[in-house]
Symmetry: C2
Subunit: 483 residues, 2 copies
């Protein structure tokens, strides 16, 4: 398990991980149509329109109407990728046969390796030995592999029909969690570029992935969930993350921060969580942004992937709820951010588009006049040189859209609001609070201009702070470059 | 504004606030059917089947088909409650007329008082003077009044048809935010008992409300959103909160914690936020539980209202995602909670109901075997004397319910899971992560046994911690009582 760095580097004869995401041909080993483990990957790969696919299962016969080979030996030479889903006890033989057939990329989805104890760890070391001897790269074991939305190729337990293309790449350690991240992204309309679950990371780890994704054109933000960094990879992590951070933001979520958490990750993916302080220092040194929760990872990625970096200037808040406005002020100040001091002409202009009782200082509180006032107000705020970021808060009463009361469709309002915000050229996020139907209308309307709708005030503030943090880093690295 | 405590107490000739929630007769002053401010309160009050109602508007005529009186003077004597929605400039006259008509309870929804500056503050002082001289209690101004689900009476901008009865009372300061809280509760199925928005709190404040709600049978948990405590009410707050906390948990969310936040609340409801440290110390002294965000207020209230207090014992986690399990371990430990050390016989029994690769220590990780294993596992955990609280995490892949893949309806599974958890007699919360359709199934199934489904890991841990915190307080106060 504890290989020397040089040995590990020797393993990387094929530096490109591209065949994991863009294989021309794939062999599914352990293909099955039984409802359970293996079904969805088999189905997803089989239904891909362009890739050449081969199914292998000792039972032979047909799976989902396709002929099945009984052994890897029956495969043609040089298949790009093998996806292995056989029981752990058979994995060594299968990997050996793959090596013989010239397969250089392998995803091992099967569990039962180092996460289960000594015997599993031995099996895993054996896999690495074979891979190293044959110039193979391995993702896994104990994972569900990859999702690539640019060609809709996936080896994971996800519903291909609902995948949304976008700029966020997630790298997760475990399969279940990675799948749930994809499901949640689909449910909330977060666009993904690539998702990888690494499992026990016997070979490919998050550092390799960050290096790969840094140059992936579709990926605008890299979000990592890490349980532990493999021994002697700390220095490499800092170097790779630093180089990648200069190109795009990296968000890092790590578990095993406490004693109880460390024990849990050990029995989950066999990971050594290590000292959280050391990890934290390394992340900071590398320019990556550490996040504290899944929701923060999720929403910060959403904002970073969709919004431009803020120009000079501080945060302007526009709200229809004074309470939520005040809470947002608190959160922003606690994160070290400042409220923009609006120019006198901005305040004058705001007065003209809001009712007399509206508050035209920052936060701009338009109260019940949100439908009439928010759009011109955002335009005005966008022109103020002191404003670098616009945070829009809406808590519109459900009666407005209720068929029993006002029965209004607010989607067109949110659509124009989104266009207006987008035209300011300044990053904008919205926080939706209250009635679910109205928040859905906002997602639909604002979504057309890629203005995110968040549902958690604290995390909205954190996402704003992360965009400023990344801007600072970017300014620093760009300056270094120009010198 | 800065009345002496004695003067203030003199105001309370009618100590009961009951007429605000259970009036036999109500006058709506400024009744209107125009779509906008005033429409929903008018409609909601008019549609109440039992209350005697009177509409008043200088314009006369009919509103929503009901005859309208032109002045308050035309009202009969002794109407229980007046809801005032006329422009602020007319409020003084209307309050005077209400006093003459023997009305003792008034909700002023109109804005344009101390939140707007000196002239508004003068108007507000005038209102208080009239009220004091006539033994009236006033809620507001600048609010939307009350919601009472036990008789479905409301003066607020809410959709009565979707209100859900339950054990949570919210007291908010502003109308928009209070309305949004109700809307969100309706959207997420959180059952409410009473909701009050206090606005500028010229008379009735959160301290009065806590005193009232402490003895309200329908209310199991009191959730407060506060922008500032009125001068010289600090001591009274501690006394009232302490007495109420001995009966039911009080959750307190306060804004104006920072300089920016303090400024914002000043222009919102004219509140003086005061020192956050002083406020925090007072809350702690009173036994109330301070929460840090709306979402924490919301979800903690949901858990406290639905779950029993934990018996002796620590937290057991059951999960199908090792990653989420590990993150939950971190959060619980960071909050000072302990993971239960499972009894050897518990581990043995768990092994029998889970596959060989499952982890039967705490966290219990059943992985993909969740459907088969979770129900017997919860039963087994419930019998372990070391377990005081069960946290169940599910991140079930969307393919399981997708019509294109397994097409399973998991509602019956969640229903039995909920029944089983409920039978353990131990508090249980669940965290749902991933596919929205599956989380909705969980809400439906688990909802039958009132097992909450939360969507945020950090806040799930915080809710667990709050239940333990309240138990500790309760043990202390009960012990004091018995001595």
């Amino acid at each position: 398990m504890c290989r020397k760095a040089e040995e590990r580097d020797a393993l990387k004869c094929d530096r490109s991980l591209d065949a994991f995401f863009n294989p021309r041909s794939v062999a599914v080993i352990g293909a099955t149509e039984t409802l359970g483990f293996g079904h969805a990957p088999t189905k997803n790969i089989l239904s891909h329109p362009k890739i050449k696919k081969f199914l292998v299962n000792v039972k032979g016969g047909k799976v989902m109407g396709v002929d099945v080979l009984r052994t890897v030996r029956e495969l043609p030479e040089g298949v790009d990728l093998a996806v292995i889903m056989v029981p752990s006890s058979s994995v060594i033989d299968v990997v050996k046969e793959c090596a013989e057939k010239g397969i250089r990329h392998v995803i091992i989805e099967s569990a039962g390796f180092s996460e289960t104890g000594d015997e599993g760890a031995r099996l895993e070391r054996e896999v690495v030995k074979i891979a190293r001897a044959n110039g193979m790269r391995v993702i896994g074991p104990n994972c569900v592999g990859v999702v690539n939305t640019s060609n809709m190729f996936t080896t994971a337990d996800v519903d291909v029909a609902v995948l949304v293309k976008g700029g966020v790449a997630f790298v997760a350690q475990s399969g279940v969690f990675g799948t749930a991240l994809v499901d949640r992204a689909c449910s909330e309309g977060l666009g993904l570029s690539k998702v990888v679950t690494l499992g026990n990371k016997c070979d490919v780890d998050e550092i390799d992935l960050v290096e790969y994704l840094a140059d992936d054109e579709e990926t605008k933000v890299i979000g990592l969930y890490v349980e532990g960094v493999k021994p002697r990879r700390g220095r490499r992590m800092i170097d790779v993350f630093r180089a990648a951070s200069a190109k795009k933001p990296i968000l890092v979520l790590k578990s095993g921060r406490t004693e109880a958490g460390s024990k849990a990750v050990k029995s989950h993916t066999g990971s050594l969580a290590g000292s959280d302080k050391v990890f934290d220092a390394a992340v900071k040194q590398s320019g990556a942004i550490r996040v504290e929760s899944i929701d923060e990872l999720f929403y910060t990625a959403m904002v970073l992937a969709s919004q431009p970096l803020p120009p000079d200037g501080d945060v302007a808040i526009i709200t229809n709820s004074g309470s939520l406005g005040a809470m947002m002020c608190d959160e922003l100040e606690l994160l070290g951010l400042k409220l923009a001091v609006l120019l006198p002409e901005t305040v004058d202009k705001l007065r003209k588009v809001t009712p007399p009782w509206a508050s035209c200082r920052n936060p701009v509180d338009v109260g019940p006049a949100i439908i009439e006032s928010a759009i011109p107000a955002i335009e005005i705020l966008g022109r103020d040189q002191n404003v670098g970021f616009i945070v829009m808060i809406f808590a519109i009463p459900g009666i407005v859209s209720s068929p029993r009361y006002f029965n209004a469709d607010l989607t067109p309002f949110f659509e124009i609001l989104g266009e207006t915000a987008s035209k300011t050229g300044k990053p904008t996020v919205t926080l939706g609070f209250g009635d679910e139907r109205i928040i859905k209308m906002a997602e639909k309307g604002l979504g057309k201009s890629r203005i995110p709708v968040l549902r958690n005030l604290t995390l909205t503030a954190k996402a704003v702070a992360s965009l400023y943090e990344y801007k600072k880093l970017k300014n620093k690295t760009d300056k270094n470059k120009s010198i």
